[in-house]
């Protein structure tokens, strides 16, 4: 394992250290590294020092392995297991333990408030960390799933920018589409 260190500079000019292997969890950082554009410190003008350590924590766990969280989402090892003639049982066992452990880690990792969720989604999107993006987007989706527009608005503090006429019109459309929304 390479232990080359890489330095990341947050939008508020704070520098953080990360192993190259961990940094490769980010498609963006990987391209910078492979492209040979590495020049001491990589500036990340879109990521603040509040959220960067959280991102680095994720990368450390998933260094060089973008697919692992997807694997979990699909229901553990089984689905991606290949049948090979020289199928390695021990390896399979270790993999199972690893996936279980990772699941637990993710659960703890994802315990934070909405503000962190937005910042993390933006950072994952900007740095192209697919696993982290999937994880955070799913969390956001779970906060919308099965809720009425009013509940969603309240949950996320969304202010309607429809004019009163539009609101009126929309209620009519809604009624037409699906009566029950008005009564939910």
């Amino acid at each position: 394992m390479s232990s080359t260190k890489i330095f990341l500079k947050s939008s508020d000019d704070k520098t953080f250290e990360i192993d190259e292997t961990a940094a490769r969890a980010s498609e963006t950082l990987k391209n910078i590294i492979d492209g040979g554009c590495l020049d001491g410190v990589i500036p990340l003008p879109n990521v603040s020092s509040n959220i960067l350590p959280k991102v680095i924590e994720y990368c450390k766990k998933h260094g060089g392995d973008n697919g692992s969280s997807k694997k979990i989402a699909n229901g553990g090892v089984d689905k991606d297991k290949e049948i090979l003639p020289d199928y390695d049982e021990e390896e399979d066992k270790r993999e199972k333990v690893r996936v279980d452990e990772l699941k637990k880690w993710e659960e703890e990792y994802m315990d934070f408030d909405q503000q962190v969720l937005y910042d993390l989604m933006l950072a994952a999107n900007y740095l192209h960390i697919k696993g982290l993006l999937d994880l955070t987007v799913e969390k956001a989706a779970s906060m919308i799933r099965g809720r009425t527009p009013d509940q969603i608005r309240e949950n996320f503090n969304i202010n309607s920018d429809f004019t009163p006429e539009e609101e009126e019109e929309m209620i009519l459309i809604e009624d037409e589409w699906d009566d029950e929304w008005a009564f939910d």
Binding site: Q115, N125, V137, A141, I144, G146, I158, E174
Partner: protein, 479 residues
């Protein structure tokens, strides 16, 4: 918390918001269009291209069939995407909306859907409760033949309908998962379907009661997971699946399977619903011997033979984890009397959770003595759910503690108060303690008693915790 008044989510870029929408059922996605202008525009953008069209439970709740049909038709009409990945429908079309349902399946098929979930029963159950529609007025939904010409399918999940194949069926070349629940299908049709799915990995048959026999043909070389649940199979079941790794059987069984080759089986769950004596002993003995090479086994008490020839012993050479869903403490003894498990590391048991009626078991002829030769050289973890602290249960704990030389932990999940109290108070009486002792005293008593038991492994720790009845973490619920 600190900046709660700000609307942060609406400031996220389109790509992220579209990503969020793609994970929602259609109804929830449509609900967001009422939030604000930006959301309305995004939602329209999303709906016309959506790759995941989920008209599932959330859509059908509290809607009239007319509203639902209208909703689906509108969504499908504005859709311009060339392909969809997933289409899910949960709806009872009754006679009136049969044509609509056929059209929707046609839509999904035209867009080369890969994952198709069709459940045609949702409302029927609800109407039954209200008594609005009686069963004999209804006829099950017949799947249109063109569904079987869709070669792009990888997942097919059908519930509550009639399946018949077209006269020319070229097969599902890419199908990996097939799940049929309460589907009316004949033995021949199923066999024909299965032999034309060369890549099938997972097969789940649930409540397909018309099936009398099931034949898993040799051509399903990729099949790795087989689940048969409440199929009430009358007769023969033939399994030829050399690569099968997991097998789950849940339900009633009169005959055991004709198993030709399951040498790669690693995990088996056998849960038989009927405990009556109608099943001959030799069938139960076959169950044990056929599964002798698995690594993980979940089995219920009803599947264990009681009276076996003296020399009947099955050696589970690979067994590392055993879950026993016991009707009685004595099931544990039965299992270890008939089986040798040299590698067993983890043993989970769900106890019946009600007072054992020793007389009943004796009346039924169940042997109650402990097995004589029994070693647990690798057993590290034991977990018992629904533990009541009765004498027979404590005796069993003693049985394990005396034999498990490398035991690390014993976890006892005691039934929640009302049950636990009764159980432990019975126990208190047995020991000559006053019966009005409170719950705390009782659990204290249990602790004391446990600490007094001799342990073969000096490092073994005993944990007692309170849990709900049932012990759901032990009981595997199939889908």
């Amino acid at each position: 918390m600190e900046r709660k008044s700000q609307d942060k989510i609406s400031n996220l870029p389109d790509s992220i918001l579209l990503h969020i929408l793609s994970l929602l059922p259609i109804k929830s996605a449509v609900a967001t269009s009422a939030l604000a202008k930006r959301w309305r525009n995004l939602c329209t953008c999303y709906l016309i291209q959506a790759a995941n069209l989920d008209f599932g439970d959330e859509v059908t709740d509290n809607q009239t069939p007319e509203q639902f049909v209208d909703f689906v038709n509108r969504c499908l009409n504005i859709h311009v995407g060339k392909q969809i990945e997933r289409f899910r429908l949960c709806f009872d079309p009754s006679d009136r909306f049969r044509l609509d349902a056929v059209n929707w399946i046609g839509f999904a098929t035209r867009k080369s859907v890969k994952e198709l979930h069709l459940d045609f029963c949702h409302r029927r159950e609800r109407y039954y409760i209200k008594g609005e529609i009686s069963s004999d007025e209804r006829r099950s939904f017949e799947l249109p033949e063109f569904l079987f010409n869709n070669e792009s399918l990888t997942h097919l999940d059908l519930s509550h309908c009639v399946l018949s194949l077209p006269s020319i069926f070229s097969g599902f070349g890419f199908l990996q998962t097939l799940r049929l629940r309460d589907v009316q299908v004949t033995e021949n049709t199923l066999e024909c379907l299965l032999s034309n799915c060369p890549l099938l990995e997972k097969l789940i048959l649930r409540e397909c009661s018309p099936l009398q026999s099931i034949k898993i043909p040799e051509s399903n070389q990729q099949l790795r997971s087989l689940t048969l649940c409440h199929c009430w199979l009358g007769s023969e079941i033939e399994i030829f699946a050399p690569n099968i790794r997991s097998f789950l059987f849940w339900g009633k069984l009169m005959q055991w399977f004709s198993i030709k080759n399951i040498s790669n089986l690693e995990e088996a769950v056998i849960y038989l619903r009927d405990t009556e004596d109608s099943r001959p002993e030799h069938v139960r003995m076959r169950i044990l011997s056929d599964l002798a090479h698995v690594k993980i086994l979940t089995i219920c008490g009803g599947a264990l033979p009681w009276h076996t020839p003296k020399d009947f012993r099955v050696t589970f050479n690979n067994l590392q984890e055993l879950q026993l869903l016991a009707d009685s403490v004595y099931d544990v003894y039965s299992f270890f009397r008939q089986s040798i498990c040299p590698c067993l590391e983890r043993f989970f048991i769900r106890l019946p959770g009600v007072p054992e009626d020793l007389c009943l078991w004796q009346y039924l002829g169940m042997p109650t003595e402990e097995p004589l030769q029994c070693g647990f050289d690798h057993l590290k973890v034991i977990k018992m759910c629904n533990f009541r602290g009765s004498n027979v249960e404590l005796k069993m704990v003693k049985f394990f503690l005396e034999r498990a030389v490398v035991l690390e932990s014993l976890v006892l999940v005691v039934l929640q108060k009302s049950y636990a109290q009764n159980g432990l108070e019975d126990e208190a009486e047995d020991f000559g303690c006053p019966s009005n002792s409170g719950n705390e005293t009782s659990s204290g008593l249990l602790h004391e008693k446990l600490l007094l038991l001799p342990k073969a492994s000096s490092g073994a720790q005993i944990f007692v915790c309170e849990g709900l009845e049932g012990g759901n973490d032990v009981l595997l619920n199939p889908h």
